[in-house]
């Protein structure tokens, strides 16, 4: 079987295929599940109509667009999850006779929103923003008892869930949540939601990097870092983050020189020479202090 790229269903392509079939009848090929036998134009038309009527054409197109946007590492698994999620959404899904309770609906909505938010990395800004929009709509959908719009309580729950799934310790993210959470009854506009989502995911990546940094500073025997080293590195980072009123390029150059390997080696070396050893710094403490530097730069909601 030849490895053909999956064709995007469209009327234009169907027309081309019809022409191709008329010319080349010798080779039989399989694609999109059609049987590999030469067939007449009339049969092809009814098949295409069938696909369009049941909505498969549109659905596949949407699915493929999502794949293109997200560029996942494992496209097949991604597509499998996508269709699984879609199955949950469709009203024809074979469920219990009784409609699910509010709590379950809420959980499902959260789950779906989370799934959307994870499709693209925050650095793929356009894709990420699109997904944020979809997640927002998903959460704002009105239930039977629920008014339309996203309320503060759901928003807070979502934030907590993202952080929990991202394996960031609670004490580390708590200050951030305090800053960007909304009151339970407040209506959360899309812009606030989007900023909050971005901040949350960026913090998770920040904490991951801080964790990797801690592993570098760790004493292999102790499985903990020398307090002097940890503090020296954090202090250097804090120094580089101090906002000067310089224009952006000057600030970046200064930070770059402060955070270069030579400068950091010096800072670490000086710390070890200048101070006596004391109690080691645990991973939690290091992450908390590092996250504090990040959270300090986050604008609070208000």
């Amino acid at each position: 079987m030849a490895a053909l790229p999956v064709p995007l269903p469209s009327a234009k392509m169907a027309a081309v295929e019809k022409r191709r079939q008329a010319v080349a009848q010798a080779t039989s090929f399989t694609d999109s599940g059609r049987p590999g036998v030469p067939r007449t134009a009339a049969t092809a038309e009814s098949e295409e109509d069938f696909l369009r009527q049941v909505g498969v054409t549109e659905m596949l197109r949407a699915a493929l667009l999502k794949v293109l946007e997200a560029r996942p590492e494992e496209p097949i698994a991604f597509l499998a999850h996508y269709f699984e999620n879609m199955g949950l959404r469709s009203p024809a899904n074979g469920g219990a006779g009784e409609p699910p309770g509010q709590l379950l609906l809420q959980q499902q909505r959260l789950g779906r929103a989370l799934w959307h938010l994870r499709l693209a990395h925050h650095s793929q800004r356009t894709a990420f923003n699109n997904n944020v929009g979809v997640a927002y709509e998903c959460l704002s959908a009105s239930g039977r008892k629920k008014k339309p719009g996203l309320d503060g309580r759901t928003y807070s729950e979502l934030l907590k869930r993202i952080c929990r799934d991202g394996e960031a310790p609670e004490e580390v993210v708590a200050p951030l949540l305090r800053k960007i959470q909304c009151r339970d009854h407040e209506a959360v506009p899309l812009a606030v939601f989007r900023a909050g989502m971005l901040t949350c995911f960026v913090l998770l990546e920040f904490v991951a990097r801080a964790g990797a940094l801690y592993r570098l500073l760790e004493d292999p025997g102790l499985a903990m870092a020398d307090r002097r080293l940890g503090q020296a590195v954090l202090d250097t980072l804090e120094g580089a983050l101090q906002a000067s009123d310089d224009t952006a390029p000057a600030r970046y150059l200064e930070a770059g020189s402060r955070l270069g390997p030579d400068s950091l080696a010096l800072a670490m070396d000086r710390a070890l020479v200048a101070r006596r050893p004391s109690a080691p710094m645990t991973r939690e403490e290091f992450l908390e202090k590092a996250a504090a530097l990040f959270i300090a730069k986050v604008k609070p909601v208000g």
Partner: protein, 175 residues
């Protein structure tokens, strides 16, 4: 080979200061001493000796003429060499210091120092110091992520009108 001291001319110290000299208070941390070798035949420098006076870190830079055609360029021989382990203590504050030329390929220059390579690395590293390049990479990424968040902001306000929670239900019910 006997050791001969090379005549040199030591200029007065110049303080490096950032900002307006008139208004900034306090003494700066960096002083620069120029040392020149007037009209001396090419020589190979073996040792620099001096007495410290409350200097914590020393950097030596040398300007070398490689040939008459290329312009002279500055080379850093010694960077932040620690003379005082604790700048706030007395240790090393008034010591006599000798800096030796290492076994690096010797170069002679018409009128300037051959650069003395210190005995230790430019940044004397203790055993078991974490890899600075990897540490730097992680820290720089953390910096970039923070800067990105600092730069992004939402102008939309959530529409709160209260200050410090004065619309809190519990408070309102008492007024």
């Amino acid at each position: 080979m006997s050791r001969v001291s090379v005549p040199c001319h030591v200029k007065g110290t110049v303080a490096l200061q950032v900002g307006d000299v008139r208004t900034s208070q306090g003494r700066p941390g960096v002083l620069v001493i120029d040392v020149t070798f007037p009209s001396v035949a090419p020589f190979e420098l073996q040792e620099i000796m001096f007495k410290n006076y409350y200097t914590a870190f020393l950097t030596i830079r040398v300007r070398q003429h490689t040939s008459t055609h290329t312009p002279a360029k500055w080379v850093t021989c010694l960077r932040d060499y620690c003379l005082m382990p604790d700048p706030h203590s007395e240790e090393g504050a008034q010591e006599y210091v000798s800096l030796f030329k290492h076994q690096s390929p010797s170069m002679t220059f018409p009128k300037w120092l051959s650069h003395p390579v210190p005995c230790e690395q430019p940044t004397p590293l203790l055993e078991g110091l974490p890899d600075p390049s990897r540490v730097s990479s992680e820290v720089q990424q953390m910096w970039a992520l923070t800067e990105m968040i600092r730069a992004s902001h939402t102008s939309t306000r959530i529409g709160r009108f209260d200050v410090d929670g004065c619309y809190d239900l519990n408070l309102l019910s008492y007024t």
